[in-house]
C-alpha cells in the first residue's frame, strides 16, 4: 500500500459535512433508547446489583467474607483498585498529553476516553474505602482538625493515595466538563423538549459560541490540559508507592513508578479500544472513530506493552543482581511457585499477545484486535494480582506463609465493579455526546480554511 507520509491522514473519514457530523453524534440523544440499549443496561445493571449485594454482605458480616488471610492482608479489593485506576489513565493521557502534543487524531476518541477515566476512577475509589475493616471510619484518613488532637500520618503512602486519587478525579472531571460546555450548548440548541433544554441550558453555562467564549475556552482548555498532564504520571506513581514504600520483597522496588505508569496506560488503552470497538459500531461512528484511530491506539498498546515486558524482565534481573536471597526467592516463586499460573497468564497476556500488533493487518483487524485487547485487560488485572498476592503470600518467614484463595464474594464485588463501570458508560452514551462535536468539526475537512482553500490533500 502506498502511503504518503508528507500529508496527514484525514481525521474524519468519509467527507462528512459539519451538519452531518453533528447529526451523527447527537443522534443517540435525539432518539428514544432502543431494545439493545435496555438489554445492555440490564446486563450491566445485573452485574452492578450482584456487586452491591456482595458488598452489602461484606459490610454486614465483615471482611472475613473475602479470601484475605493473615499474610495476605491485601487481595482482590486492592487489585481491583489498582486495576481501575490504571484503566483511568488512558483518558487523561489522550485528552491532555495528546492535546498538548497536537495529535489531532485524539479528537475522535478523547471525550469517550475521558468519560471512561472518570467512571474508572469512581470504580477505583470505592475499593480503598470498602477494603478497610471499618469503612465507616474512613473519615479518619482525612486531616481534619479535631478535639482529640489526632492527625493523620503523612508518611503513609495510603494517605498519599487519598489525595492523589481525589485530585485526579476532580481534575479529570473538571477537564471533561469544560470540554463538554460547547457541546452542551449545541445540544441545547438542537433540543426542542423542554426538560432536555433546561438541563442542557444549565450545564452549558450560557455558552453562545461567541468568539470571546472560544478564545477563553481554548485558553482554559490548554491550561487544564497542562494541569492534568503531570497527574497522569503522579497518580499511578503514588499508587505504586503503596507497594514500593513497603519493605516487602516483591513490592519494595524502585522500578515501580514508571512500571506502573506504563502499565496503566497500557491497560487504559486496551480498555478504551475494547469499548470503542462496540461504540463506533453501535452508534455508526465509523467515520469519526476510524480504523486509523484504533490502529494508533494499538501502536501505543504495543509500545507500552513492551515497556511492561521490560519491567518484568528488569525485576528479575535486579532480583538476581541485588544478591538479596529473599528478593530472588520472591521472583522465582512468582514464576514457579504456587501462583505460577497467575504469573504466566500475566506474561502471556501482557507481553506475548501484544506482539501481534507488529503486523499492520492485525492492528487493523477488528476481531483480532478485540481478542488481544481483552487479553491485555485480563493480563493487567493479573499483573496487579501477581504483585499483590504472590509477594504477600510468601514473604520473609516461611512459617507464616499461606495460600490465598478468593471467595465468591470477592468475585462478586469484582463483577460489580465492571457492572458499575459499564452501567455508567451505557448511561453516558445516551445522555451526552460520546464524541466532542465542536472539536471534531474543527478537524473535519474544510473546517480550517487555508490559503489553498482547505483542500490540502489531493
Amino acid at each position: 500500500m502506498n502511503i504518503d507520509y508528507s500529508q496527514e491522514m484525514p481525521t474524519v473519514a468519509g467527507r462528512l459535512t459539519l451538519a452531518q457530523i453533528e447529526e451523527l453524534v447527537a443522534k443517540p440523544m435525539d432518539t428514544k433508547p432502543d431494545k439493545k440499549f435496555y438489554i445492555a443496561l440490564s446486563i450491566s445493571g445485573t452485574l452492578l446489583m450482584i456487586g452491591a449485594t456482595m458488598l452489602a454482605i461484606s459490610l454486614y458480616y465483615g471482611t472475613g467474607m473475602w479470601g484475605n488471610n493473615q499474610p495476605v492482608g491485601w487481595a482482590f479489593p486492592i487489585v481491583n483498585f489498582v486495576f481501575w485506576v490504571g484503566i483511568g489513565h488512558a483518558g487523561t493521557l489522550i485528552s491532555a498529553i495528546l492535546f498538548l502534543l497536537r495529535q489531532k487524531w485524539r479528537t475522535g476518541i478523547a471525550r469517550f476516553a475521558e468519560a471512561m477515566t472518570i467512571f474508572a476512577v469512581i470504580c477505583a475509589g470505592i475499593f480503598p474505602v470498602i477494603h478497610t475493616g471499618r469503612p465507616w471510619l474512613a473519615g479518619y484518613l482525612l486531616p481534619y482538625p479535631n478535639q482529640h488532637g489526632l492527625w493523620v500520618n503523612f508518611t503513609s503512602p495510603l494517605l498519599w493515595d487519598v489525595f492523589a486519587v481525589s485530585t485526579y478525579l476532580t481534575v479529570s472531571f473538571v477537564f471533561w466538563y469544560v470540554g463538554l460546555i460547547p457541546d452542551f450548548a449545541t445540544m441545547r440548541d438542537r433540543s426542542s423538549s423542554k426538560i432536555k433544554k433546561t438541563i442542557y441550558s444549565t450545564f452549558s453555562l450560557g455558552w453562545r459560541h461567541s468568539n470571546r467564549h472560544w478564545t477563553h475556552y481554548e485558553k482554559a482548555y490548554m491550561l487544564l490540559a497542562g494541569f492534568a498532564t503531570p497527574l497522569v504520571l503522579s497518580v499511578h506513581t503514588i499508587v505504586s508507592f503503596d507497594f514500593a514504600v513497603s519493605i516487602l520483597p516483591g513490592w519494595h522496588a524502585t522500578i515501580f513508578p514508571p512500571y506502573f505508569v506504563a502499565g496503566a496506560i497500557f491497560s487504559g488503552f486496551a480498555m478504551v479500544v475494547t469499548v470503542l470497538v462496540f461504540v463506533r459500531k453501535i452508534f455508526d461512528l465509523q467515520h469519526i472513530i476510524t480504523i486509523d484511530h484504533l490502529e494508533k491506539m494499538n501502536k501505543i498498546i504495543l509500545a507500552t506493552g513492551m515497556m511492561v515486558g521490560y519491567a518484568y524482565a528488569m525485576e528479575f534481573f535486579i532480583a538476581w543482581y541485588s544478591g538479596n536471597p529473599v528478593e530472588s526467592f520472591v521472583f522465582i516463586n512468582r514464576a514457579f511457585g504456587p501462583y505460577a499460573w497467575a504469573y504466566w497468564i500475566m506474561v502471556s497476556c501482557n507481553v506475548i499477545f501484544p506482539q501481534f500488533f507488529w503486523f499492520r493487518k492485525i492492528r487493523r483487524s477488528i476481531p483480532i484486535m478485540m481478542v488481544i485487547v481483552i487479553f491485555v485487560n485480563v493480563g493487567m488485572w493479573f499483573e496487579r494480582f501477581v504483585i499483590t498476592v504472590t509477594s504477600l503470600s510468601r514473604d520473609f518467614l516461611p512459617s507464616s506463609w499461606a495460600y490465598y484463595k478468593p471467595t465468591l464474594v470477592d468475585g462478586g464485588i469484582l463483577l460489580g465493579s465492571f457492572g458499575l463501570f459499564f452501567t455508567l458508560v451505557i448511561l453516558f452514551t445516551k445522555a451526552l455526546p460520546v464524541v466532542s462535536i465542536s472539536e471534531i468539526k474543527a478537524v473535519a475537512d474544510g473546517a480550517q480554511p487555508t490559503h489553498h482553500g482547505g483542500e490540502h490533500h489531493e
Binding site: 484475605n68 499474610p71 478497610t132 513497603s246 495460600y403
Partner: protein, 1029 residues
C-alpha cells in the same frame, strides 16, 4: 485643622484615661443632639414597639429548662438503653476486695492427675487467670496450657446447670431433692446387689476418705478406677524388677545422657512442667553444660523435637533394640549383665531397621562413658518387657543415681485391671448391679469398645453420672448430676510424697451445681435434705484436723494452721519415700524379643491439647496448634512419607484402619520423622453428645482400642490400611512445604531466622553466632534515644521445648477469641504468640527448630510508618503500641510486618464462631478487664502485656519508687515451664535480663532489615559430636 487638633487635645486632657472614640463629625465636634442621644440606652424609636404583654410568656428560665429536658429526652430516647439488671455498688466494701485490684488465691489444679499448685487471679470476685503456685515444689510457679485454659471450663456456657433425669435419651430438669431421694432409695434398696463407683484415679486423700465412708455406709459398693493413659505398665515392670515400689522420678537436670525410648517426657508422660524445667536446667548456656538427648521413637514428639539425635523405630522393635544395645555395651565390656544377650546384635539391628550406625555408635560410647550420669527412659505405652529390659540396663549402667530419692509419685488406689472391669460388666449384664455411679468420668467414651460397657449400662439398675458437662456417658445415664468446677470446689491433692496441695473455691457456684464429694456425702447421710453448701468444706477441715494435722506435729493450733495452709496452698509433710531396690533375677525370663511385626503398627497417643478428651470442649485447647504438625481442631493418622507412597495416598486422603474387627476412618497426615509402617493417632477427638465445641471434631481413636492387646493398650500391630477414596481438610497454622523442593528447603537457615550452633563449636568459639551479625545500618529517620526504661524480651531457644503453653497463657491474659476450624483453614488464627516450627534435613530424619514468634516491638517498626491514621505507634519506653479505637483496618501494617505477627479481626470472631457461642454473656465474666475486647475490623498484636506494665508503673508510683524492669513479667514468661522467656529493661545493666539481651549467642530475626527488634533469640546449641549443625 488646628482647631480639630486642639479640641482633640482638650478632650484628651479632660479625660486622660479614655481615648475619645468618635463615630461621626457631629460626635467629634460635640453636637449637643449627639450628646443628648448618648445619654439614652436605646436609639429613639427602637423601643416603641416593645410591650411586655405581647411577648411569649416563656421565661428564659423555662426555656432553658425545656431545652435541657428535651435534650435529655432526645439523648436517652436515641440510645439503645437496656436495663442491664442490678448494678449495685459496694455499700459496705468487702474487706478483701479493692475495686480494680486483683486478688490471688492458692489452689490446686484438677485439669489432670498431676494436680499442680495454682494461684488463681480474681478481679471483683471473678477468676480471670491461672498461674502456677510458686511455693509448690513440683510445678514451681508454672502451669501448663490445660491448666491455663481451665478458666474457660469454668465459664463454659454449656456446663450442666441443674440435675437432669433421662428417659429414652431425652432429659428433663429435676430438683436436687427429688434426684437425691430417688438415688438414696435405690442405694438403700440395693439388697446385696453391687453398687459400682467408676472413677478416674483419685488424687485427693479426703475424697478417697469420702469414698471409704460411702463404702461403709453401703457395703455392697465397689470402686473401679481407670484412666485412658497411665503408668501402670511402667510401674508393674518396676515392681517385677525390683520387688516393690513405683517407677521413681528422674533427675532430668543431672543426667548427662538421656535416652528416651518412645518416651515423651517433655510432652505427655509424667509432669511435663517439672520435666521441662529440669530438662532445661541441663541445657544452660551460662554454665555451658549440656545434656545430650537421644530419642528412639516412632514419630516426632515434643521430646523428639528437642533431641540431639533421633532414630525412628517401630514400637514393637524397641525390645530388640534394648537387648541389642545391652549386647553391644556388654561386648564392649561396659556392662555386667545377668542375662544372656548374645542372640542380639546392634549392627544387625541397625541394618534390619535402616538406622544410622554412626548415631548408634555415639550412643553406645556415650552410655559407656557416662555410667551413673545417664538415664534410659521408656515410654508408658511400651510393653512390660521393654520396661524390664530398660530397668536392667539402667541398673547395669549404675544409672540408679539418676533416680530421685526425695519424692515419689503417690497413688491412692491402683487402676482396676481389665479383669476387674470385665467382671463389673459381667455383673451388670447379669443384673447384679443396683447402681452405677460415674464419679466425674466418661467410661462410655474411654473404655475399649470390646468391653461392651455402653450396652451393659442399659441393664444396670440405676446409672448416675456426676459430670460438669454433657458427654457420651451422661447421654446414657438416668440421673445426670452437675458438679462444681475446679475453681468452685474445696479439696486437697497428694500426688507426690512430701507435699499435699489444698484446693479452695474462688467463686460461688455459677449454676445449681454441687461439689461432687458433697453429693456422695448427702447420700451417705441418707437424707436428701441433708445437703448444705459447707458440707464438704467442713468434712475436709475435719479430715485434716483429725488425720493430716496430727501427723505434722505443727506447733500452731489447727485453725491457724488451716488458714496458713489455705493461704500457701500447700503443706509440706515429712513422709520420706522408701526406695529400695533389690534386683529380681527371675525377671530376665520375661526378656524375649520374639514379637511379631506384621502389617502396620498403630500407636494411640494422648493428645497434647485435649488430653484424653477432657479438654475437647475447650476452644482454646482445640485451637492451639499441635506442637509438631501445627494442626488444630483435628486428629489424624500420622504416617511417614514412604508409607504414604506405598499406600498410594497423599496428605488429607481418608484411610480406613482395621485392627481385627475394629475400624476407624480418618485422614492421613504425612508426618516427617515417622517410622515406616507406623500410624500414630492422638486420642480425645471424635466426641459425641459433648456440646457445641467438642462434637464431631476429629475422629475417635478409642474405637481402635481393645481390652486384649499383646503389647499394651496403646500399641497394636498387624493393622491393615485401605484407602477410602475420600479426602478431608486438616486445618494447620503453618503451610506444609515439600522437603525436596529446593526453592523452599532450609530457607529458615539461609535467611538466618533460625541460627544454630553446636555445643562443641560454642565452647571453642563463644562468638560463633555473633560473627554472622550485620553491622548497624543508618536510618532515614533520626533514631529516638531511649535513655530511660525500655522494654525488651529474650527467648532462650535452648530451653524452649515448643510446647505452646505460653500461647494459651497469652490467650487467657489478652482475651483472645477462638476462631474455629473454618478460619484456621484460611489462616486467620488470632493467637498473638505462635510457635514456629521448621524442618531441615530429610523427611525421614528431620532436624526440628522451634521458635516462639511474637511482635518484636522493633525500634524502627515498619508497621508504624505505613499506618495512615497513626493507629500503631511507639511509646517512649520502646513498645510498639496499637490504638484499637483509631484503627480503620487497612491491614497495611500487617503486610509490612516482616514477622507477620499482627492479627486482624476479619469477623467479630466471638459472633462468628459456632453461631455466637462466645457471645454468651457468661463468657464476658472471663475477660481480663484490663484488656480491651477488640471489635471487628481492627488489627491487634502482642503488647508485651502493656496492662501489666501499666499496673506495675502505678504500683511503683504509689510506693514512690522507680519502676524496674524486673517488676514486670509477661503472661508467656509466667507460664513457661522451662523458663525460656526473659523480660525486662534493656537499659538496666544490673538486671538478669541484661545478660540475656546482650548474650553472645543472642541474635535478632531478620537482622538485615534494620528494623531493630527488641526480642533477642538465644541461638540453639545442638549437643552433637561435631562443630557443624
Amino acid at each position: 485643622m488646628s482647631d480639630i487638633k486642639s479640641d482633640n487635645t482638650q478632650n484628651m486632657d479632660s479625660d486622660q484615661l479614655e481615648p475619645n472614640y468618635w463615630r461621626s463629625f457631629e460626635a467629634l465636634y460635640n453636637d449637643p443632639t449627639v450628646i443628648e442621644a448618648k445619654g439614652h440606652e436605646f436609639k429613639e424609636g427602637v423601643t416603641d414597639d416593645f410591650s411586655a404583654t405581647g411577648m411569649s410568656n416563656l421565661s428564659r428560665r423555662k426555656f432553658l429548662a425545656l431545652l435541657g429536658a428535651s435534650a435529655a429526652i432526645a439523648g436517652t430516647a436515641c440510645t439503645d438503653y437496656r436495663d442491664k439488671g442490678e448494678i449495685v455498688p459496694y455499700n459496705i466494701k468487702p474487706e478483701e476486695i479493692t475495686v480494680g485490684k486483683p486478688n490471688f488465691y492458692a489452689s490446686t489444679c484438677t485439669a489432670c492427675a498431676n494436680a499442680c499448685g495454682i494461684l488463681i487471679k480474681t478481679r471483683e470476685g471473678r477468676p480471670i487467670k491461672v498461674d502456677g503456685n510458686p511455693d509448690h515444689p513440683v510445678n514451681k510457679g508454672k502451669i501448663c496450657a490445660k491448666g491455663q485454659a481451665n478458666i474457660l471450663n469454668l465459664y463454659d456456657p454449656e456446663r450442666l446447670k441443674t440435675p437432669l433425669i433421662g428417659r429414652n435419651s431425652s432429659f428433663n430438669e429435676v430438683s436436687w431433692k427429688d434426684a437425691d431421694s430417688d438415688i438414696i432409695n435405690a442405694l438403700a434398696s440395693a439388697n446385696g446387689k453391687e453398687i459400682a463407683i467408676v472413677t478416674n484415679p483419685i488424687t485427693s486423700p479426703t475424697t478417697s476418705k469420702v469414698i471409704e465412708d460411702f463404702k461403709s455406709k453401703y457395703p455392697a459398693t465397689k470402686v473401679y478406677s481407670y484412666s485412658l493413659f497411665n503408668d501402670d505398665i511402667k510401674n508393674s515392670a518396676w515392681q517385677k524388677t525390683f520387688g516393690s515400689g513405683k517407677y521413681p522420678l528422674i533427675k532430668w537436670n543431672e543426667a548427662k545422657v538421656i535416652v528416651a525410648l518412645e518416651s515423651d517426657f517433655l510432652g505427655v508422660d509424667g509432669n511435663k512442667i517439672e520435666n521441662s524445667r529440669l530438662f532445661a536446667e541441663g541445657r544452660d548456656v551460662e554454665t555451658k553444660s549440656f545434656n545430650r538427648l537421644y530419642c528412639i521413637d516412632s514419630t516426632l514428639t515434643i521430646t523428639g523435637n528437642n533431641s540431639d539425635y533421633r532414630l525412628r523405630l517401630r514400637p514393637e522393635a524397641q525390645i530388640e533394640f534394648v537387648m541389642s544395645l545391652m549386647n553391644e555395651l556388654s561386648s564392649k565390656g561396659a556392662l555386667n549383665l545377668s542375662v544372656n544377650t548374645s542372640g542380639y546384635s546392634l549392627s544387625g539391628f541397625a541394618t534390619k531397621y535402616n538406622l544410622n550406625k554412626k548415631v548408634l555408635d555415639q550412643l553406645v560410647k556415650d552410655l559407656a562413658s557416662n555410667k551413673g550420669k545417664a538415664i534410659v527412659d521408656a515410654g508408658i505405652s511400651l510393653s512390660e518387657n521393654v520396661h524390664v529390659a530398660v530397668n536392667l540396663l539402667n541398673e547395669a549402667l549404675g544409672n540408679f543415681t539418676m533416680f530421685r530419692s526425695d519424692s515419689v509419685v503417690n497413688i491412692f488406689a491402683e487402676n482396676s485391671s481389665v479383669q476387674e472391669i470385665d467382671s463389673l460388666i459381667q455383673k451388670i449384664n447379669d443384673g447384679n448391679v443396683a447402681a452405677v455411679i460415674h464419679f466425674d468420668c466418661n467410661p462410655v467414651y474411654h473404655l475399649a469398645q470390646d468391653f461392651g460397657y455402653k450396652k451393659a449400662l442399659s441393664k444396670a439398675g440405676l446409672v448416675v453420672t456426676l459430670s460438669e458437662r454433657e458427654n457420651e456417658t451422661t447421654f446414657v445415664s438416668k440421673y445426670v448430676l452437675p458438679i462444681n468446677h475446679n475453681f468452685e470446689s474445696w479439696g486437697d491433692a497428694k500426688t507426690r510424697t512430701g507435699v499435699i496441695s489444698l484446693q479452695q473455691p474462688v467463686i460461688a457456684p455459677l449454676n445449681s451445681t454441687r461439689q461432687k464429694e458433697s453429693i456422695l456425702l448427702t447420700w451417705i447421710n441418707g437424707k436428701s435434705d441433708s445437703f448444705n453448701e459447707t458440707l464438704y468444706h467442713e468434712y475436709l477441715m475435719k479430715n485434716w484436723e483429725v488425720s493430716i494435722y496430727q501427723t505434722l506435729n505443727s506447733k500452731l493450733d489447727f485453725k491457724r494452721f488451716w488458714f496458713g495452709a489455705l493461704h500457701d496452698g500447700i503443706v509440706l509433710t515429712n513422709d520420706i519415700p522408701s526406695i529400695s531396690r533389690s534386683f529380681n533375677n527371675a525377671v530376665t525370663g520375661l526378656l524375649s524379643a520374639n514379637v511379631s511385626e506384621k502389617g502396620f503398627a498403630v500407636i494411640i497417643k494422648e493428645s497434647y491439647n485435649v488430653a484424653d478428651g477432657s479438654f475437647s470442649h475447650n476452644g482454646w485447647m482445640q485451637e492451639l496448634p499441635h506442637p509438631v504438625s501445627k494442626i488444630s481442631w483435628d486428629n489424624y493418622a500420622a504416617v511417614s512419607e514412604k508409607t504414604c507412597k506405598d499406600l498410594g495416598v497423599e496428605n488429607f486422603d481418608m484411610i480406613e484402619i482395621k485392627i481385627g474387627d475394629r475400624k476407624l476412618s480418618l485422614p492421613v497426615f504425612m508426618q516427617a520423622g515417622t517410622a515406616d509402617n507406623v500410624v500414630v493417632i492422638e486420642s480425645g477427638f471424635g466426641r459425641q453428645n459433648s456440646g457445641t465445641v467438642a462434637n464431631e471434631v476429629g475422629f475417635n481413636s478409642n474405637l481402635l482400642m481393645s481390652k486384649n492387646s499383646n503389647l499394651s493398650q496403646w500399641i497394636y500391630s498387624d493393622a491393615t490400611i485401605t484407602k477410602t477414596g475420600d479426602s478431608y481438610k486438616l486445618a494447620s497454622s503453618q503451610e506444609h512445604h515439600a522437603f525436596d523442593d529446593p526453592k523452599v528447603q532450609d530457607l529458615h537457615k539461609s535467611r538466618h531466622i533460625i541460627q544454630e550452633a553446636t555445643v562443641a563449636a560454642y565452647v571453642k568459639n563463644p562468638h560463633v553466632i555473633k560473627e554472622k551479625h550485620h553491622e548497624d545500618q543508618p536510618s532515614v529517620y533520626d533514631p529516638h534515644p531511649y535513655n530511660g526504661l525500655k522494654w525488651g524480651m529474650a527467648i532462650d531457644l535452648n530451653k524452649c521445648t515448643g510446647c505452646g503453653d505460653c500461647v494459651v497463657a497469652c490467650n487467657v491474659e489478652n482475651n483472645i477469641p477462638v476462631v474455629g476450624k473454618d478460619q484456621v483453614l484460611v489462616s486467620r488464627e488470632m493467637q498473638w504468640l505462635r510457635i514456629d516450627r521448621y524442618y531441615s534435613g530429610t523427611p525421614e530424619d528431620p532436624q526440628v527448630s522451634m521458635q516462639p514468634m511474637l511482635c518484636q516491638h522493633c525500634d524502627q517498626a515498619p508497621c508504624e510508618n505505613v499506618c495512615p491514621v497513626v493507629a500503631t505507634n511507639h511509646s517512649p519506653d520502646g513498645l510498639n503500641q496499637m490504638v484499637y479505637n483509631r484503627c480503620v483496618g487497612t491491614r497495611y501494617c500487617s503486610n509490612n510486618c516482616p514477622f507477620k505477627v499482627r492479627r486482624f479481626n476479619f469477623f467479630n470472631f466471638r459472633d462468628h464462631f459456632r453461631d455466637s457461642f462466645q457471645e454468651n454473656p457468661i463468657l464476658a465474666l472471663m475477660h481480663n478487664p484490663e484488656v480491651t475486647v477488640r471489635s471487628r475490623g481492627v488489627m491487634e498484636k502482642c503488647t508485651f502485656c502493656v496492662q501489666r506494665i501499666s499496673e506495675g508503673r502505678a504500683d511503683a508510683t504509689h510506693e514512690n519508687r522507680k519502676l524496674k524492669g524486673s517488676d514486670i513479667t509477661t503472661a508467656c514468661q509466667d507460664s513457661c515451664g522451662s523458663n525460656a522467656i526473659y523480660f525486662g529493661d534493656i537499659n538496666d545493666k544490673e538486671s538478669e535480663f541484661y545478660k540475656y539481651r546482650n548474650h553472645e549467642l543472642g541474635y535478632y530475626v531478620l537482622e538485615e532489615l534494620n528494623v531493630k527488634p527488641n526480642v533477642t533469640y538465644i541461638a540453639k546449641l545442638r549437643n552433637i559430636h561435631s562443630e557443624e549443625v
